[in-house]
Symmetry: C2
């Protein structure tokens, strides 16, 4: 699977821009799930319940690492590939390190976990991202303007050539994207800045966290971020879907929440 | 163990500023080690051979993660705490994510791995680092000016208030360090900038990678980075020590390399 073509194909065939985030918080897992299988069982049920409405799945590696669940994460991504072929998996890892170490992180994401794309942190510059970029069939989604309040602290510093986040957008679109496998992370909490990024980067795919629990509005996000020719957006929601209910009906509730979010996104699109 | 006092105590009692980096590259492990125990056996031998000359050990998590070695990393840090009490362990993970996820990364570093300090990426701002800072007894070592060439791309962007890396140094020293548990990563490859950082941050501990294999000079590093009252530096070397030899004599060779590096550092100090 080549990530960007698979994503475009999924946008079109499933008519959805919703990216389902898999952030399994141990404190919130439904109590009725057998304890020894709760982490995998929960994630598999969410995946099966929401797959019809997902353009991508985005497991957040910290949730697995904090509970010694690396083997569960491997198993989960395998499961998605087998049970739902054609839905790409974005490993949300936000890695960033010097070249020799970055090569190992790329191996971790793409070989060990078999992710189709990974999020990376641009703070160490292009040579730190190059080992990921060299996997031309994989997606490399670079942090640009994050959804948290503190993101402004560095990302909004203004240099002679404009704020840091726009310099990242420009560099990724114009210089780092030689294999055509890049995307950017731009939070839904800043639709004005999302529009600035979109204006700079053409149809580059944007991963947009921050709707739902973090408070970003869907209408403003879609209007600010939609691409010109293709859909262009992976609008990510995690907690509002995963924990729509935490009893035995959690999977049905997640399915309803995913469908409602997909529909709300599509209602805001110029070409649903 | 409180990280900063433990580090100061170790600087004084062992008279060393050398931080031994544990980056066990599977392609470089001595061939004679039994395959099923090579990763742990190699690291343990390096730790025992170099402990006399180490102010800290710094395992790089990517090397373990890329070879499904999380359990080995847990075991290794346990081993260091038990066999060499008083030598702090810095987990080199360079994590950076929004608050709720950062809490899980903090749990991973401090509870799962029992590290005494962790490296973090400041790109997402203070709220992303706060969950680490809240562990007041643990060290939080923030990337400032990294040792790779590409580091200049963002870290050297010049805003109205000066280059990005100096703004990070200032914010960490003046605002983020409320618990007195912060440090900064500043590469040895840029001694001029290391001096600028030192001038801004008083005696804040600096973790300095980039000597040895990456080419930074020890004399220039020590002269630029030494603190005013205390030692102030963890000068990190990994490959030049770990792979001094790769045959049955690797541990002895590592010990000699560590001692020679410790001595070279001390020769450059104002108060060895």
């Amino acid at each position: 699977m080549r990530f960007i073509p698979a994503l475009r194909s999924r946008w079109a065939s499933a008519n959805t821009l919703l990216c389902v985030g898999l952030d399994p918080d141990p404190a919130k897992l439904p109590a009725h799930l057998p304890r020894e299988d709760a982490l995998f069982g929960f994630c598999r049920a969410i995946v099966d319940a929401t797959a019809d409405y997902a353009c991508a799945f985005k497991p957040q590696i910290a949730y697995f690492a904090a509970q010694r669940g690396e083997d569960v994460l491997e198993e989960l991504i395998d499961y998605i590939h087998n049970a739902h072929p054609g839905i790409p998996v974005v490993l949300d890892a936000k890695r960033g390190d010097i070249g020799s170490t970055a090569e190992l992180y790329a191996r971790e994401a793409f070989e060990r976990y078999r992710a189709d794309a990974v999020t990376v942190n641009p703070f160490l510059g292009r040579d730190s991202v190059q080992p990921f970029l060299d996997h031309a069939d994989k997606g490399v989604i670079v942090l640009c303007r994050t959804s948290n309040a503190g993101g402004s602290e560095l990302q909004f510093l203004d240099s002679q050539e404009g704020p840091v986040y726009l310099q990242i957008a420009r560099r990724v679109a114009e210089q780092w994207n030689t294999h055509g496998n890049c995307g950017l992370v731009v939070g839904a909490t800043f639709p004005h800045e999302l529009a600035h990024v979109r204006a700079l980067v053409g149809d580059l795919p944007l991963l947009v966290p921050g709707i739902g629990a973090q408070g970003g509005g869907i209408d403003a996000t879609v209007k600010a971020g939609e691409g010109t020719e293709t859909a262009g957006l992976m609008i990510s929601s995690s907690r509002a879907i995963l924990y729509a209910r935490t009893d035995a009906e959690f999977a049905d509730a997640a399915r309803h929440a995913a469908r409602a979010t997909r529909d709300a996104i599509n209602s805001a699109r110029r070409r649903p």
